[in-house]
């Protein structure tokens, strides 16, 4: 269908018709009938108009796509493509690169001043709570994305069980603080250490595996940890989780209204928002620490070994790089940052349960890394904002519920769009949003090259 690209209109219409027909086939009966629990068992509600709308949408989209493709093909026929060039093309910095240099400072600026901006914009700290909470959520995912980026983006080890280390960190703080009364600042490094140790433990047996098999085994480990958390009721509280986890304190000073509290000590008026703002800067600091560590590590021998390992493991071994240590350090470091993020998660929520650490969470973090362009720090941050913040913003757009009817909740469609975005990204831009790579070492001038010139493709 798509292979025979003639661009005459009847052809395009016929092709789009076929697409619509396939869409129709896919819609029956899943979309056409909805099953609802009725008084006498399941009842069916027909929804044929929805199917018609669906097929029409596919038809229109396909026609538009074919028209655009036809135009591009016509233009391509006139200008030779860079792929046909005999010499390596030193491309102009493309849009992605400009975004990545400019975006860096814009992001940092906004991130550092968000509580100020938000409280000015909505008039006071209290009303700004929504924005600051959203900022905390996004930054948590930015941090997790950056942590996973070490494993997936730099070392090229696809880890589908990353959330397990997040869980280890979260449970570590929750258990240590509720049973031994240790403070957050003692637990934070401990959580990182524990998670790193788990990273080593789980990383060790999978050293021989690569690619798909490695991914599946890490998935299995992630699920095992979650199932153990659910079933080991004596220690973890089972599916009910652990509640009333102690709140964070300002380096030992609690955020309370009494005279030993944060507000009284610093001569401020008590405001429950102080704690939220503090948490915001805490996660910002942790995320930036992750970023800083990653950037510095990339320049160290170990970081270069990671990237070499990603490109070609056999060549790596021939050059005398110890692949065991290289892989284990990547796992351990990635896990340590997940552990920090996990203990932050539990101090912020005050309640954790295995529900928060499902495979889906791993997939979301992976999606963020993939969409950001594996290996690119700014790309990961942009992807986290888009994927975590995007649906939140959609929720507030009133006209959407006017279009799709009352009770329209974009959050329901969030994961649906995640899935679609992952596929679309792999098909259209497998190298991610920011697909430009700056070499870690270079002779003379440092020039960014397009990701297309890197052999593994995600360099």
């Amino acid at each position: 269908m798509a292979d025979a690209r003639t661009s005459s209109l009847p052809d395009i219409l016929r092709d789009a018709g076929l697409y619509a027909l396939v869409a129709f086939g896919l819609c029956i009966p899943i979309v056409a009938y909805r099953t609802n629990a009725g008084p006498t068992g399941l009842e069916l509600t027909p929804r044929w108009p929805l199917v018609a709308a669906f097929c029409a949408a596919i038809f229109v989209l396909r026609v538009v796509q074919r028209l655009i493709l036809a135009r591009r093909d016509a233009r391509r026929a006139l200008t030779p493509s860079p792929a046909q060039a005999t010499e390596a093309v030193q491309g102009e910095p493309d849009a992605g690169q400009r975004v990545s240099t400019f975006g860096l400072y814009a992001f940092l600026g906004i991130a550092l001043t968000l509580p100020v901006i938000a409280s000015l914009a909505s008039g006071g700290l209290g009303p700004a709570r929504y924005w600051i909470d959203l900022g905390i959520l996004i930054l948590t995912y930015v941090m997790l994305g950056w942590g996973l980026n070490i494993v997936v983006g730099l070392a090229g080890l696809l880890d589908l069980g990353y959330v397990a280390f997040y869980a280890v960190g979260a449970y570590c703080y929750a258990l240590l603080s509720t049973t031994f009364g240790l403070s957050f600042w003692v637990c934070l490094p401990l959580a990182g250490l524990f998670a790193a140790a788990w990273g080593m433990v789980l990383g060790f047996p999978v050293l021989r595996l690569r690619g798909d098999y490695l991914a599946i085994v890490t998935l299995a480990f992630g699920e095992i940890i979650r199932l153990v958390l659910i079933n080991w009721t004596d220690l973890t509280g089972g599916a009910a989780g652990i509640s009333s986890i102690p709140r964070a304190s300002f380096f030992g000073i609690p955020f309370s209204a009494d005279e030993d509290g944060f507000a009284a000590r610093f001569g401020l008026e008590f405001d429950s928002m102080h704690r939220v703002v503090f948490l915001y800067y805490l996660i910002l600091g942790l995320a930036l620490l992750t970023n800083f560590a990653t950037l510095r590590l990339r320049r160290m021998p170990i970081g270069r070994a990671w990237e070499a390992l990603r490109e070609d493991e056999i060549a790596c071994r021939s050059l005398g790089i110890d692949t065991t240590t290289t892989k284990l350090t990547a796992f351990a470091l990635g896990a340590a940052f997940a552990g920090f993020a996990g203990s932050f998660f539990s101090v912020r929520q005050g309640f954790i349960s295995p529900e928060s650490f499902t495979f889906l969470e791993s997939a979301i973090i992976l999606a963020i890394v993939v969409l950001g362009g594996m290996g690119s720090q700014v790309g990961v941050a942009i992807a986290a904002v888009a994927m975590v913040g995007g649906p939140e913003l959609l929720r507030n757009l009133g006209f959407l519920s006017a279009v799709f009817g009352e009770g329209f909740d974009p959050n329901e469609y969030r994961l649906l769009l995640f899935g679609l975005a992952m596929v679309a990204m792999m098909v259209w831009r497998p190298r991610g949003l920011i697909s430009v790579r700056v070499p870690s070492v270079s002779l003379g001038e440092r020039r960014a090259i397009s990701g297309a010139h890197v052999s593994e493709g995600h360099g």
Binding site: L26, I28, T35, L44, L209, L219, M422, G457, H458
Partner: protein, 305 residues
């Protein structure tokens, strides 16, 4: 002994279902070397198609013969799920051939998330339970108040599986399509040079895998009588475990692996602890992949540099 026999029957039934799903994994891995992560969700989609088709047939069209209704449901589910399999391959995997190593797997995870949430959005998040479709059975043995019971459902599941596997075996071993499929599995480039339409063969492989998953989906619905949008993941992983255990790329291996996983799961639940039965399955997956990656009937893979 009675308990053992009963668990054996249950295990073989469950194993048949896993085996049917596992074939889809093993064929796709054999031919394009990717883990079709979305296969478990294709199985779940087929369960929903079967559920709705069954409701339409019995409640609206008033077909009272269960056998006829089940047959129509089976054919319908196979056809529609095969279409899903075809469309998924076309949209999400075919453009990625020749892309980097992990691209198809990531795309497949995307498809998996999409499918389960698509069903959640269109059908709601609640468990859907059907009225029992097929009741009754044969009491095989009776002693001291314990009856070893072989239900008609179980007979049907094992028969359908056996018949389909024989047919499928014939298809792969004796027909031109099967020959093309095996040739592509060995060397895609060479097969293409010899005039085999590789893309078409791969498409057909996906279609067949999805159709077998659809059979598994119908049987699953028949057996448990309940399905939800999240039911694809765990059976999917278990079936993948079965495929790996049997030796990925080997069809008899997939069925054998399925039966073993089914038996292990059932006996584990009966004699050890039901809470940790999924842990057992996941542990087997990890252990097999780490220590025995070529499985029971598989060929050891030699890596070419």
């Amino acid at each position: 002994m009675d308990v053992f026999l009963q668990q054996l029957i249950n295990g073989l039934t469950l194993g048949s279902i896993y085996g049917l799903i596992a074939i889809g994994y093993t064929m796709v891995f054999g031919i394009i070397g990717m883990v079709n992560f979305a296969h478990g969700d294709v199985f779940m989609v087929s369960s929903f198609i079967a559920l709705i088709a069954f409701l339409i047939l019995t409640a609206w069209l008033g077909i009272s013969s269960v056998a006829l209704a089940l047959l129509i449901v089976l054919v319908l589910a196979m056809a529609l799920t095969a279409l899903w399999g075809w469309a998924i391959e076309r949209v999400a995997y075919r453009p990625l051939r020749g892309s980097f190593r992990l691209a198809p797997l990531i795309s497949a995870i995307g498809v998996s998330i999409f499918l389960s949430n698509f069903v959640q959005v269109t059908q709601g998040a609640r468990n859907k339970s059907t009225p029992p479709m097929l009741e009754g059975g044969i009491a095989l043995m009776q002693s001291e108040g314990y009856t070893v019971f072989l239900s008609y459902k179980q007979v049907l599941i094992m028969t359908v599986t056996a018949v389909l596997l024989t047919g499928f075996w014939y298809l792969v071993q004796r027909t031109p399509f099967g020959r093309a499929q095996r040739a592509c599995e060995q060397d895609r480039k060479m097969a293409a040079l010899l005039g085999i339409d590789v893309d078409r063969t791969i498409s057909l492989t996906f279609v067949l895998g999805a159709a077998l998953a659809a059979v598994a989906g119908v049987l699953y619905l028949l057996y448990y009588g309940v399905v939800s949008f999240s039911d694809g993941f765990v059976p999917g992983v278990k079936a993948f475990t079965a495929a790996v255990l049997g030796g990925i790329g080997s069809l008899p291996g997939a069925v054998l692996g399925g039966l073993i996983i089914g038996l292990i799961e059932v006996f584990w639940s009966a004699y050890f602890s039901i809470e940790y039965k999924d842990v057992a399955a996941f542990s087997i997956l990890a252990i097999v992949l780490i220590f025995m990656p070529s499985g029971i009937l598989g060929r050891a893979e030699v890596e070419k540099v």
